[in-house]
Every structure is written in C-alpha cells, then in structure tokens.
C-alpha cells in the first residue's frame, strides 16, 4: 500500500445522498471483472451507455474541472449498503485518495482505510463551504500527519482519525502483520476465556449431531 501524507487536489463533489456500494462497484462487474473493478467504478452514474462506455457529462469525475481529482466530496450516508470492499478498491483505482463527507456507511468507512483511502468526517457547515469552493474548481490540501485540511481561502479545518488507522495510512501497512506481533497476548486471552466460555471454542469440525457434549 502506498504511503499517504499530504494530498493536494481539487475536490470533486458527488453530493447525492445514500450513494450505495452497489453503485460504486456493480455486482456484475465484481463477478467477472473483479481484477479491474476501477474501470467500472460508479458505472450507473458515470456512463450514459455502459456497454459503449459513453461518459455521462453530469458525473463530476468526467468533467474537465475535476479530471484527476484525488479528493471526493461525498453526500450524506455515502457508501451505505453492501460490505463489498471492491467499492473503495474501485475508487482507489480511479485515483481517489481521500473522501470527505458528513456521514458514511460504517463498513465502507473502515474498508476505505484498508484500500489506502483516507476517510474524513466533517461538520455540515464546513462541508458546504468545501462544496462551494469545489464548484469554483479550487484545490484543497489534506495533511494526514497534521490532521488538517487547508481550504483555498487559507482556512484550516482539523479532523480526527483513529491512531492505528493513521499509522496504517502513513506507513502503507497491512494490519495483520501489526496484530500478529501480539499473538502471545491473543493466546493468553483465549486461555482465560476458555475457562469462562468453553462452548465458544468447540470446533465447528465436530461430527454432526455431537453438538459438543464434553
């Protein structure tokens, strides 16, 4: 995963509420073109004719002003619906490195980090100001290390992020490696837990009908 520290870009505004992950990564494309899902990201909004790949001029990322945008301004409850991680994967493949919105689908929000996209929640009034500046084609700067967004007006907006997510994004790390360094602690937890909740650890492989009669 690429390291992320500072992202400077125009922010493309995709302000419809409730854009779901079926729209961001259509199932049919996941099934048969999963390895290049970015070619089909936002397909129902992005193309007027999907098969001919005729660009929809209303879709912000098709507009000259927002070409190559690395930041996406997202309408309310963006990324709701299915847990598919192909959604942020498609967006990452389209060049998006940061999403900014007021509310996000919870699973999508976490999946973003695992796909190297920095997700940021901001207040409604700050969001509206960003949307206005983006309409004027103004750039903004997102500094992950300092946890602040600098608008074209010079105004700075701080944002919060979980420490481990910041670390992952800053260093471009896979979470599993970090957690496995704590394997001893995990096994200690399980040893104690086995005494308190032995039924949890009955293997699912047990013969049918046995049901863990120990």
């Amino acid at each position: 995963m690429e390291k992320r520290k500072v992202i400077q870009s125009v922010a493309a505004p995709l302000l419809l509420p409730n854009i779901d992950t079926d729209i961001i990564a259509p199932m049919k494309r996941i099934l048969f073109h999963g390895d290049e899902i970015w070619n089909y990201g936002f397909e129902p909004l992005r193309f007027l004719d999907k098969e001919a790949r005729l660009p929809n001029p209303d879709f912000p990322l098709n507009q000259e002003k927002y070409r190559g945008a690395r930041i996406l301004l997202c309408g309310e409850n963006f990324g709701c619906g299915s847990s598919r991680e192909n959604a942020p994967e498609a967006m990452a493949g389209m060049g998006i490195r940061c999403v900014v919105g007021t509310t996000f689908g919870g699973i999508f929000f976490k999946n973003c980090v695992n796909q190297g996209i920095l997700p940021i929640k901001v207040k409604k009034e700050d969001f509206d100001e960003m949307a206005e500046l983006s309409r004027q084609g103004k750039e903004m700067i997102v500094d992950l290390e300092e946890q602040k967004i600098t608008l074209a007006t010079g105004r700075e907006i701080c944002f919060s992020i979980e420490e481990r997510q910041k670390y992952m994004l800053m260093e471009g790390l896979d979470n599993v490696g970090i957690t496995l360094e704590k394997k001893g602690r995990i096994l200690d937890f399980e040893q104690k837990d086995r005494e308190a909740r032995p039924w949890v650890y009955l293997p699912i492989t047990k013969a049918k009908g046995d049901g863990g009669n120990i």
């Binding site: 419809l16 509420p17 409730n18 779901d20 079926d22 729209i23 259509p26 199932m27 049919k28 099934l31 999963g34 999907k50 309310e76 409850n77 709701c80 619906g81 299915s82 847990s83 598919r84 991680e85 509310t103 689908g105 919870g106 699973i107 976490k110 999946n111 695992n114 796909q115 979980e162 420490e163 481990r164 896979d174 979470n175 599993v176 957690t179 496995l180 704590k182 394997k183 602690r185 995990i186 937890f189 399980e190 837990d193 308190a196 909740r197 032995p198 039924w199 949890v200 650890y201 009955l202 293997p203 699912i204 492989t205 047990k206 049918k208 009908g209 049901g211 863990g212 009669n213 120990i214």
Partner: protein, 467 residues
C-alpha cells in the same frame, strides 16, 4: 458502572486497548460466503498467512448458487467460476465447509442461528453487511470488508472503534396484518437510511419481547438499512428454547452455563444510551418501498410524497424517474411482473407458512413470474415436511433451492430491465436485482398477495377480506 448489553459483550472481548476509542476484540466466529469468503481467503493465501483457529470459522456458499430446482454447481456461471476456488481454499486453510450437498447449507444469516453456531454473548463477523441479523441471538455481530475478514481469520481478533449506543423501544401490539418486515421498513422510512450511522442499536420493549425469534431476525437484518452496523436483542427464554437441541448449541451442563452467562448480559436498569427512542408500533400499517433507497417507503395505502425532503431533491427525482412513478402516485393497483419471496430478511419457515396461508388455493396471475426460495436446506426440508412446496407449486410459484437468489443478483439471475418486482429482500438500490429492474420491498404477505393479483394490493384490505 452501569452498562448496556452491547457494552458488556464488547468488554468481555477486549484483548487490548488500542487507542482512546478503539479496542482489539476477540472474534468468536468468522463466517465466509462464496463471494467475500473466497476473496478474503485469496488475500490470505497471497500474504502467506494461515487462520489462527480455522475450526472456529465456517465456509457457507449462498451468494453465487443458482436457485432453479435441482441446481448444481454448474447451473450458474458464477458458481461455476467461484465454487471450485472457494472449496479448494477452504480446504487448504482448514476451514470447515457446509457444501452444496450438506443439509446445513443455506444463507449464512439463516444458517448461523438455526444451527446454533451464533450464540448469545458471542462476537460474530462475516464479509456481508447483513451479519447484524445474528444480533437477534443476543450476539454482537457485524459485517466486515474482505481485509477485515482476512484479519479476523488470521488473528482471531479485529480492531474496532466503539460505536455510540442507541436503544429503540418498540411498544404496543402489532396489527395482525403487519409483519416484522413492515415494522423495520417503517422505522427506516420514518428515521432515514443514515439514522443509525455510528451507533449500535439495541431493540427492546414489549413488542420485541412478544416477537418470535425469526421476527427478531428480520428486524435485526434490516438494521443496516437504518445505517447501523450492529443490531442486538437481549437473549431470553425464547432465545434459549429456540437454541436448545440445535446441532452446535452446547449440550447439558455447558448449555446451563451459557444460559447463566447470557443472563448476565442484560442492559443494566441505569445504563445510559447516547440516544433512546420509543415507537408505538400499534398504528403501523403494511409498508412498501416506492424508490431506490429503503427509506423511500410508504404505507401500502398511502401516496408517494408530493415533495422531496429538503436536501434530497435530486435523489427524489432520480428515484421517481428510475421507478417510472410520479409524485402523489398510489402503488396499489400497479402492475407487476415478478415476485421474490426469500433471502436472509424473510426466507425462514414462519415467513413461508404465512405465504402458504395466503396463496393456498389461488394461482399466480398471468404474466407474473413468482419465486419462493427457502433460506436454507433445513428451511426447505421443514417446509416440504409440511407440504408447503405442494401448495406453492400448485399455485404456480417456482420452489427454488436455498441461497441468496434474486436478492442481489450475484448468481446471474435477474429481473428484466423495466420489470417491477415485489421482493421480501432488504435493498431496492438501482440495478440491485438486475440493470433497470424496479424493486418494491415488502413483507411476505404483501408479496404473496401481489403475486396472485398481478398488482400491488392493499394488504390490510385483502387480508381482512379473507377472514
């Protein structure tokens, strides 16, 4: 300090505090389905890891399988592409599998509770947003992405940010023509699809206490459409009598231990929620969605709103255009071409019994293709023991093989462009059931009535007329 049920389960699973808002939690169950499971297993192989406890995970195919009677792995091009890899990876990683010919196969969120794998007080993850369904068992259960599922398998833990707490108390007796599906659709339309974002929702109140387990599962299932990743309902006598004797439910002394453990996991009387609401459900009528978000739902007898909510003008116009409807339209009387009854929302035995009562002796209207797909192999065999499949077939329904089927169209089965489908599933998103397909979410009763009439019916009036 007083705690909520959710907080108690959380605290029992903390392996390590990560930062002020996040903990590393132990994961008790990892479920992999044929799509996200295959993807997570591939990720794992690529990185060269093995599951820490493969025996606490299970692979269950549901998404890609065809639903036609007598289906095999080759009946769908999608299962033909995914199943060999899913099976091989499960084997290589040592993860047990409920394969196509297994009597325990079915939709993950039907199988988990019905086999006794999802138990009160457990943490349960699956690469599927409707994992919140298992919260009906008194478990903390939530959907994760493929990276997180892979993390859960490799480390038996997951890093999670603690959500805020919300309690929704449902009070009052449900109208007899109303089902759990109507109640949860009503909540989504009233409060909005983003309402629960950032919260774990506990359902409580007299209505919930009176609900059967399968009704509670429907409520929890659609909670993700209310914006929350987690739904939970405290376990009670109904939970234990549901669980007793199921294959993976602990037996004898262990079952007693589980019951007393679960008995301690109740929200304390003085526990504080960040948000608490009470809803009188006695006035709720049968519901149906008109648009392309589950929040775009109205009572079956009502009219589509004349005007959009503020800030949702574009979404409202887009939904009307996609659904070919106009402001103020009524849905009753609208011609339909498809009906789908099934899925992790409403594919359980109690749902099918209700449908059978309605369709017995009737026949699916001309020009309508209507499917009933059981949620699991077990639901299928139970329904067949009761002879329900005969009633369905005699009435002109297709009686399918267990799986997700038409819910998300992941198996290649689709509703034709422009066709209108009354569906007991959980999402009416654009293109969800196929490009250009128009989905109306509704209860099994409403769907069954529409199949027979060929048009959307006023459920209350139609059912009252039958009495």
């Amino acid at each position: 300090m007083a705690k909520t049920l959710f907080e108690k389960i959380w605290d029992l699973h903390v392996v390590e505090h990560l930062d002020k808002d996040s903990d590393l939690l132990h994961v008790d169950r990892c479920y992999g389905h044929d799509l996200s499971g295959t993807m997570a297993y591939r990720m794992m192989k690529k990185q060269g890891y093995q599951p820490l406890h493969p025996e606490l995970a299970v692979s269950i195919p549901d998404h890609t399988l065809a639903s036609c009677p007598g289906r095999g792995e080759d009946s769908s091009p999608v299962s033909r592409a995914y199943m060999p890899s899913f099976r091989k990876l499960s084997e290589e990683l040592g993860i047990p599998m409920f394969d196509l010919d297994d009597t325990r196969q079915g939709v993950v969120h039907v199988v988990g509770p019905e086999t006794g794998l999802s138990l009160p007080g457990m943490t349960v993850i699956c690469g599927d947003s409707h994992t919140c369904t298992h919260g009906a068992m008194g478990a903390m259960a939530w959907g994760v992405g493929t990276s997180e599922l892979y993390h859960g398998l490799a480390t038996q833990t997951i890093a999670v940010r603690r959500p805020k707490g919300m309690r929704i108390c449902l009070e009052g007796a449900m109208n007899p023509t109303v089902e759990a599906m109507d109640i949860i659709l009503y909540l989504i339309s009233r409060f909005g699809a983003g309402f629960g974002t950032g919260y774990a929702i506990e359902y409580a109140g007299s209505t919930v206490l009176a609900m059967e387990m399968e009704e509670r599962m429907t409520i929890c299932n659609l909670t993700v459409e209310l914006g929350s990743e987690y739904a939970v309902i405290a376990s009670d006598e109904k939970t234990f009598s549901y669980l007793e004797g199921r294959e993976f439910t602990p037996k004898g002394l262990l079952f007693d231990q589980l019951k007393s453990h679960a008995g301690e996991l109740l929200t304390d009387a003085d526990a504080v929620f960040d948000q608490e609401i009470t809803v009188d459900v006695s006035l709720v009528k049968p519901q149906i969605s008109w648009g392309v978000s589950p929040e775009q739902t109205i009572g079956v007898q009502e009219h589509i709103p004349q005007k959009p909510e503020k800030g949702k003008e574009d979404a409202y116009q887009k939904a009307l255009a996609y659904m070919e409807l106009a402001p103020g339209d009524k849905l009753t009387g609208l011609l339909i071409q498809r009906v789908f009854i099934g899925s992790c929302s409403n594919g359980r035995l109690s749902n099918l019994k209700r449908v059978a009562e309605i369709v017995e002796g009737g026949h699916v209207a001309e020009g309508v293709e209507a499917w009933i797909v059981p949620g699991s192999a077990k639901v299928k065999s139970q329904a067949e023991e009761l002879g329900l499949h005969k009633i369905f077939r005699d009435a002109g329904f297709l009686w399918g093989e267990p799986g997700c089927s038409l819910c998300g169209g992941c198996n290649g089965e689709q509703v034709k462009p422009g066709d209108r489908c009354v569906s007991t599933t959980n999402r009416n998103f654009i293109g969800r059931q196929g490009p250009g397909a128009r989905t109306h979410l509704a209860s099994p009763s409403t769907a069954a009535l529409a199949a027979i009439a060929g048009r959307i019916q006023d459920t209350e009036k139609a059912l009252r007329g039958r009495e």
